[in-house]
Symmetry: C2
Subunit: 247 residues, 2 copies
């Protein structure tokens, strides 16, 4: 059992939905935001998938991940246009119906000027049966939660506001703590000693990350654990290993 | 059949391997780089997965994606440290043996000073049986190709050099061309007309991407097709739709 599969861990999968990420036209920043956020509140992000705007592909990813993790989050595809098929795909994944939701409709009616709730905009009120709405303080059209799946917008500012809205409702695990040690040495010179430290402290996750700066190879060693004492012991051992290697 | 599954399409899946991406400590930029690169040479990136440094998870992702796409690319986990388990995981996925490869060993021996090829560094010469090496002009330790799977380093500068090295060996498809139309209108006002244009030009992929700038909602419509004439016709139709909506 690794630290990331510990019994007290709360896990998550994230599905980024959108052709624009896969074509390179838009660079995904939602993964980095969500990874930082979940780590900070004690939820382990365990897998990310980026899938195109295709129903079958969305259904497959949602069903694979919702079985496996405590929570699933999605971003993208809940706008008013023809390529926004996330809500319908989530309904298909759960085998439930989908229609214009009176609560969502009321939010949009209040937001647009009289007569402004066009057929296209009303698409944004389509919510799978049994889902709860997720508040969107930025542009009003809501996200939703069904089962353990949280469906959010792809626009980063809206997605971030939605994460803030749902965070208080999430069960969080014992927080994964981390320390890092920067070493002005290529990682190959540290590898053996760090491997021994990992073996000695199985409750930690020790990562070694090579970097290049000014053409030189340096290493950042990251030590993660849920227990503060063990974390400090392992970190001290890594610091000693770096000192010995440099000496 | 959508444009992305056209018979002349060459497809790819990308697997980002590394706990540091999932914890948020490192922000992935390899996906954006590879997406741009593959689009430019006529290969459709169809799926991305980010998985932790765990053998079972790497094996599962590699086997799922190599069946499905023309090519699979991976980044991360081929360094000298204990948490670099990608090569062994790829061997497991293909059911082949893995050992120190004489070609890879020779590259490393030539690179390090006499006696410098430690046990840890020699780990970087572990290559699955039957694989070809991928040149690493940056830090020498090679990547490798086995079947349709290309295994590369996670450090962006090295990964990019490896992509350059393998690109000439890849079969490329008929290039997906794209145009975009910027509209100073929220996408909900354009949605119906754009949906009609998508229906009229089934050989295109039309995406509508909402943006916020200075607190205003604007839209970028992206039209993609492999045929230049169809692309121009659909783009003209989108420009007309924007003009009509603004009028």
């Amino acid at each position: 059992m690794t630290a990331s599969t510990a019994q007290d861990a709360v896990t998550a999968g994230f599905i980024v939905i959108g052709d624009e990420i896969l074509s390179g036209r838009t660079k995904d920043t939602n993964t980095g935001f969500l990874a930082d956020y979940l780590t900070a509140i004690g939820i382990d992000l365990s897998e990310v998938r980026v899938v195109p705007d295709e129903t079958d592909r969305i259904v497959e990813a949602v069903n694979a991940l919702r079985e496996r993790y405590t929570y699933v989050f999605t971003s993208g595809g809940i706008g008013p246009t023809h390529d926004d098929i996330t809500a319908d795909s989530i309904a298909a994944a759960f085998g439930v119906t989908i229609d214009v939701d009176p609560r969502a409709r009321a939010i949009l009616e209040a937001h647009y000027p009289p007569g402004g709730l066009t057929a296209a905009r009303l698409r944004m009120a389509r919510i799978p049966a049994g889902a709860d709405l997720i508040d969107n303080p930025v542009s009003k059209a809501p996200g939703f939660r069904i089962g353990n799946v949280h469906v959010m917008a792809g626009v980063p500012s809206i997605m971030q506001a939605m994460v803030d809205a749902i965070a208080p409702t999430l069960k969080t695990g014992r927080k994964m703590l981390s320390r890092h040690v920067d070493a002005d040495i290529p990682e190959s010179r540290l590898a053996e000693r760090i491997g021994e430290i990992q073996a000695k402290f199985p409750e930690t996750l020790i990562g070694s990350y090579p970097r290049t700066s000014d053409g030189r190879f340096t290493t950042q060693i990251v030590i993660r654990a849920r227990d503060e004492d063990i974390l400090e012991q392992a970190t001290a051992a890594v610091q000693d290993a770096v000192s010995i290697t440099l000496a």
